[in-house]
Chain length 139, copies 2
């Protein structure tokens, strides 16, 4: 098994009122604010079919996370028993990729406003994908 | 806006009967086979709470994809009009991260069997996350 590594090149950044990890909600449905996705000029063509009202999955890179964590206390709550990190959504994980399902509220060129995004201001964006039926239905 | 880049370190590889991208089903619900996720020894502790029957999201790195694509024909079908890549699930995209929702069928140490995984044999695995309610419900 060869392993190697791969380079992620951010395609944009999050603009959000969230600036403090300790104060951030732990999951989007617990009151995360709306946020702007601000994309790089060089990916403009890739954005052209994003529309208001669309449900998308945004992948981010938690650039302030620890990559050494394999066992964590869920939601950072020391009263809860530690769990293997791949059974949690902790930002601290070997490849700290965030997965956020959001609704697009507005599209303004390279700026896309989305609802309820739990990601700190400045967080790099690495991908955007449409939501498919198979993402939401148990099979 | 500083951009930089980040290094993804694979945590394992897919073992699948799928070896040919042209012959692979385009999405998991179109008949993808069961596949083994084979993890690296150094992430063993992170796997410890994965259980049979659990629904998880597997993130992969499409190591045979093109990273230059911004506009693609959906499913590679030239008869369909080209679309911005962030409105498609094409493996060809600036950061070729695959997102697969699957059910765990068996856990055997570092080897985890999952149902219906559309990923070629040898594809690097970069993360595993539990499915949350907010991933599957429109908000």
């Amino acid at each position: 098994m060869t392993d190697g590594s791969y380079e992620v090149h951010p395609i944009g950044r999050v603009e959000s009122p969230l600036t403090d990890r300790a104060a951030a909600p732990r999951q989007g449905d617990e009151g995360a604010p709306d946020a702007w996705l601000v994309f790089r000029e060089d990916v403009r063509e890739g954005l052209r079919d994003l529309t208001e009202g669309a449900q998308v999955i945004v992948l981010t890179w938690f650039d302030r996370a620890s990559r050494d964590a394999l066992v964590v206390h869920p939601r950072g709550d020391l009263a809860r028993p530690p769990q293997g990190v791949f059974s949690t959504r902790s930002p601290d994980r070997p490849n700290p990729i965030g997965l956020h399902r959001v609704t697009i509220l507005r599209v303004d060129g390279l700026r896309v406003l989305v609802k309820d995004l739990e990601a700190l201001d400045g967080t790099p964006i690495v991908d955007v994908k449409p939501v498919l039926d198979q993402d939401v239905a148990e099979r």
